[in-house]
């Protein structure tokens, strides 16, 4: 129990505070600056956590544990481990990048807009740090509510229906998970608390790992949890909310959805699914891998057919996440490690992709690929940035995604040759649709709608520049990411032995 301010505390309360402050600002400029300032502060905190990563020596900096519902055995228990730190860093990087990239785009009712964005960040941080099942559930839902309002208020034409579909899917999934949480909770061991009272059950992560569950119970509990996480990722066949939601949400929200929020699903599998139900995870792994890989191929084909730029990226995101989920369930060292690395890199790359799309959509008002042409002539710098990001997205060597995908594929290959073969098809297809899109949108002759496109402003250059730098750094030297998450990967693998 820390008596001083800790990193997890800061990471939760700073965005909450920022959100509240934003709500009370009057002018757009002020809310924008408040959000940017706090998000940079949060980024600084999350970088600082990387320095304090000796698990024994710095335990008190990285963990917070207070009684919450004391007699129920629920604590406000949050803490940072390697994987948590990486995802917190990803979350902390995304927000300032998004704010900088969209600094010139006007927003109506900016105070509510930025306030809700900061609340989303608080929710996401909480999910990545929660070490208590009820706390986790709280943050899991809290990340959703502000996004619901953001997308429904500032989104595209069919936003209300699309966002509601998204909400109902995830809400249903979470409620099923809640039943699972209650059931596991009622099978955890007792704990003696300070004042000598014996609490029959607790919600803590450790208690969940040691819950008394028979194989049969594990089997259906696994499904209750898995549905919630599969919807969030999303993997085939739970993905149908996603293309519409990505298409209709305002692009900054889409960046958060696809860059950070989908990682909630993968993260939850690593922390709350496989270690809690190890036997059931092994039991279901083949089915899940095949589902994921089928999703990769299916989504890739849909991406090839797409004429809507945003939906194309949405489907490509489904394909990438499917591959990560498949690699995660092979449960061998190299692929799990690869997933960890890829979670970060995919987040960075996809946010870069959305930035470019946002710029195009804001300037031309068009998101149909067939109506765009020749942007390279009017905006050469934009095109260069896009090219680098797109090549990273299809995992070319020297870019960050290459390392992760390489590791994931060798894991899949070790597990079963066919996984790698069918999954590899997805990579080839991703090159097809990405390059095809680049060719159509950026090359060819300029038409009426693209003639007016201006090249990047300074803020956009900075945002995209940072992304490109990150792409190359982790493309050449991915070791820091691997080191950071190695302990989490090993812990996961140990839990299923």
């Amino acid at each position: 129990m820390g008596t001083y301010i800790t990193f997890p505390d800061l990471l939760i309360w700073l965005p909450l505070l920022a959100g509240i402050l934003c709500f009370f600002t009057k002018e757009e400029k002020h809310s924008r600056n408040t959000a940017l300032f706090f998000s940079l502060l949060i980024l600084a905190v999350s970088i600082a956590t990387l320095v304090f990563n000796d698990e024994k020596k710095h335990f008190n900096y990285n963990n917070v544990n207070y009684y919450w519902l004391k007699y129920l055995g629920a604590n406000y228990f949050i803490g940072l481990d390697g994987m948590g730190k990486m995802l917190v860093l990803l979350t902390a990087i995304s927000f300032p990048l998004i704010f900088v990239a969209t600094a010139k785009a006007p927003v109506k009712k900016a105070n509510a807009y930025f306030g809700l964005l900061m609340f989303t960040q608080a929710g996401l941080m909480g999910v990545f740090m929660a070490l208590d099942a009820l706390t986790f559930y709280f943050f899991w839902e809290l990340a959703l509510i502000p996004v619901y309002f953001l997308s429904s208020k500032w989104g595209g034409e069919k936003r209300i229906a699309a966002t509601f579909k998204f909400f109902v899917y995830t809400f249903t999934g979470s409620l099923l998970m809640l039943i699972g949480i209650i059931y596991v909770y009622l099978h955890t061991g007792s704990r003696l608390i300070d004042d000598g009272i014996n609490i029959p059950h607790t919600f803590s992560l450790g208690a969940f790992y040691n819950a008394y569950l028979s194989t049969q119970e594990q089997t259906w509990l696994f499904l209750l949890f898995f549905v919630a996480f599969a919807i969030k990722m999303p993997i085939f066949p739970f993905h149908t909310w996603q293309p519409d939601a990505y298409d209709q949400s305002p692009t900054p929200v889409t960046m958060i959805l696809s860059g950070v929020m989908v990682k909630m699903g993968l993260f939850a599998v690593v922390r709350w699914l496989i270690p809690v139900f190890p036997e059931a995870s092994v039991h279901f792994k083949t089915i899940i891998i095949w589902l994921s890989i089928a999703g990769v191929v299916y989504a890739s084909f849909l991406a090839i057919m797409q004429d809507n730029l945003k939906k194309l990226v949405a489907y490509s995101s489904i394909a990438h996440i499917g591959l990560m989920c498949a690699a995660l369930f092979t449960m061998n060292q190299i692929s799990v490690q690869g997933v960890m690395v890829q979670m970060f890199n995919h987040g960075i790359n996809i946010i870069g992709m959305w930035m470019v799309i946002e710029i195009i959509e804001r300037q031309t008002g068009i998101k149909k690929i067939s109506q765009l042409s020749g942007i390279a002539n009017t905006a050469p710098v934009l095109t260069i940035f896009l090219l680098i990001i797109a090549l990273a997205n299809i995992a070319l060597p020297l870019t960050n995604a290459f390392v992760g995908e390489f590791m994931m594929f060798s894991g899949l290959y070790n597990s079963n040759l066919w996984f790698a073969v069918v999954g590899g098809l997805g990579i080839i297809l991703s090159a097809v649709y990405t390059l095809n899109m680049i060719q159509k949108v950026f090359y060819g002759s300029v038409n009426a709608s693209t003639a007016e496109v201006k090249d990047l402003g300074l803020n956009e250059k900075i945002a995209l520049g940072i992304i490109v730098v990150v792409i190359f750094i982790f493309g050449v030297y991915p070791q820091p990411l691997i080191d950071l998450t190695a302990s989490s990967a090993n812990a996961l693998l140990k839990s299923i032995k």
Binding site: K70, L142, I145, F167, L175, I179, I182, L186
Partner: protein, 464 residues
């Protein structure tokens, strides 16, 4: 005891105040004063054991920490209700003092059904609640719908009262002791004699009727829709919660040992209530009617407590009473200010009345059961109770899937409030949205969030 007698006395005071005081705005001050007194003396009885009246009641009423706390919560919610709706109550008709008098009588009845220890007291309490409600339903005298609703309510209510009385008679005749005291019934745990089984069944039916559980819910939408909105707000919240409390008390204290024999019946009623309430609410266009179906749907969730009858269920029913009452009072409070009761009538509310819009949204999120709101905690406790009970696990799955359905109709209003534009300029009665009303809405929001974040604020009192 304090609450029963004091609120009955204050009911009489209010009645006479109605005769002698002609000024319409005075009764509300009297009513609030009286209610605060009742509340204070009930709290004193709970924590200091202070009992003002020591009549030889022959053990017909029993107070303990649990039911005194429940009465405190109900009185607290009623206080919130008075403060929020005082001006609306004045608008219903000429006899303002009498409306308050009737509400105080109902409170007295609520205190009786929360503490009863004989079947007769249960019966008397239920009747003391019901009869003033018939009058309140009809209080909009010149409105045909209000009259029709009251008549319907009265006929159906009388019918269910008959059933209850018959059930009590069967129990009285069927048990060896021939007693009305529920702790002396001695029903054992084996197979029941036919008379007792019939008695139990009749009591189950009549209690289901009073709490509007399906398939005995048919009166609810019409009555809630027809009654003046302020009184619908009262009868769908505190009265319903008290009905559930009595239901739970009866089935725990009298029939608890026989759970295995009646659980399947309660299971059927629970599922039916959840399904009918939630599915029908989806198709409603009028928000008032939707809220009456939603009250049936919420009753389905409260039925989980009767299904489970364990510690979590007891804690859960307290939380649920508060969470559901506060959110519904808030929602009806907003509704009374609206010109148009359809969902489209809420279009663009956020633009003209941001605070009302925010409060309505929090109430709706609480009714849906989103974390951080009281509604989540109450649903969470109910689900825990049902899972802990261990029987018929699929019931909780059905319950949460229907909770997801409920998001559909609650969010339709949120969508109208925030994401749609209004065609007319004024969608609320402008002059009526006063700043005290807004402050009360904020208080309700604060209470909902407080209970949602830290429910031990209520449950902790049970073990204080």
């Amino acid at each position: 005891m304090n609450a029963i007698i004091l609120s009955a006395i204050w009911g009489v005071v209010m009645m006479f105040a109605g005769v002698f005081i002609k000024n319409k705005s005075v009764p509300k001050y009297l009513a609030v004063t009286g209610l605060v007194c009742v509340l204070v003396f009930n709290i004193l009885q709970e924590f200091n054991g202070l009992s003002l009246f020591n009549f030889p009641i022959q053990d017909m009423l029993r107070t303990d920490n649990f039911n005194l706390l429940f009465i405190t919560l109900i009185l607290g919610c009623t206080l919130v209700y008075f403060l929020l709706n005082a001006t609306e109550i004045e608008k219903v008709g000429e006899h303002v003092g009498e409306y308050y008098a009737l509400i105080f009588f109902i409170l007295s009845g609520i205190a009786i059904v929360s503490t009863f220890n004989t079947l007769l007291m249960l019966f008397i309490g239920i009747e003391i609640i019901s009869i003033p409600l018939y009058i309140l339903t009809a209080s909009d005298k010149r409105n045909l719908k209000s009259n029709e609703a009251a008549l319907k309510y009265f006929l159906m209510g009388a019918f269910s009262t008959g059933i209850m009385l018959m059930g009590i008679a069967f129990l009285y005749g069927g048990t060896p002791n021939a007693t009305f005291y529920i702790h002396l019934l001695q029903l054992g745990t084996g197979t029941l004699p036919v008379l007792v089984a019939v008695g139990l069944l009749l009591l189950l039916v009549s209690m289901s009727f009073k709490v509007s559980a399906a398939p005995f819910h048919f009166w609810t939408p019409d009555v809630y829709d027809g009654a003046p909105t302020v009184f619908t707000s009262f009868m769908s919240t505190m009265v319903k919660a008290a009905g559930f409390f009595a239901f739970l008390r009866l089935f725990t204290n009298a029939f608890g040992a026989l759970q295995a024999q009646w659980q399947t019946l309660v299971l059927i009623i629970t599922v039916a209530t959840l399904v009918i309430g939630n599915i029908t609410a989806v198709f409603q266009q009028s928000v008032k009617r939707m809220l009456s179906y939603s009250s049936i749907a919420q009753a389905g969730f409260m039925m989980l407590a009767i299904f489970a009858i364990n510690t979590k269920a007891r804690e859960g029913i307290l939380l649920y009473s508060v969470a559901y009452s506060l959110a519904t009072i808030g929602m009806f409070g907003v509704l009374t200010k609206m010109k148009d009761y359809t969902i489209d009538g809420f279009n663009g509310l956020a633009k003209t009345q941001p605070l009302m819009a925010f409060a309505a949204t929090v109430c709706l999120l609480s009714l849906t059961g989103v974390p951080l709101t009281a509604g989540f905690q109450s649903k969470f406790f109910m689900l825990m109770a049902a899972v802990e009970n261990g029987q018929h696990f699929w019931l909780v799955i059905v319950a949460v899937l229907l909770a997801a359905v409920s998001a559909y109709y609650y969010f339709k209003i949120i969508q109208a409030i925030y994401f749609k534009e209004s065609e007319t300029d004024s969608i609320v009665f402008e002059g009526t949205v006063t700043s005290p009303f807004k402050w009360m809405l904020l208080v309700i929001v604060a209470l909902i969030l407080m209970v949602g974040i830290y429910p031990e604020i209520i449950i902790g009192l049970l073990y204080a």
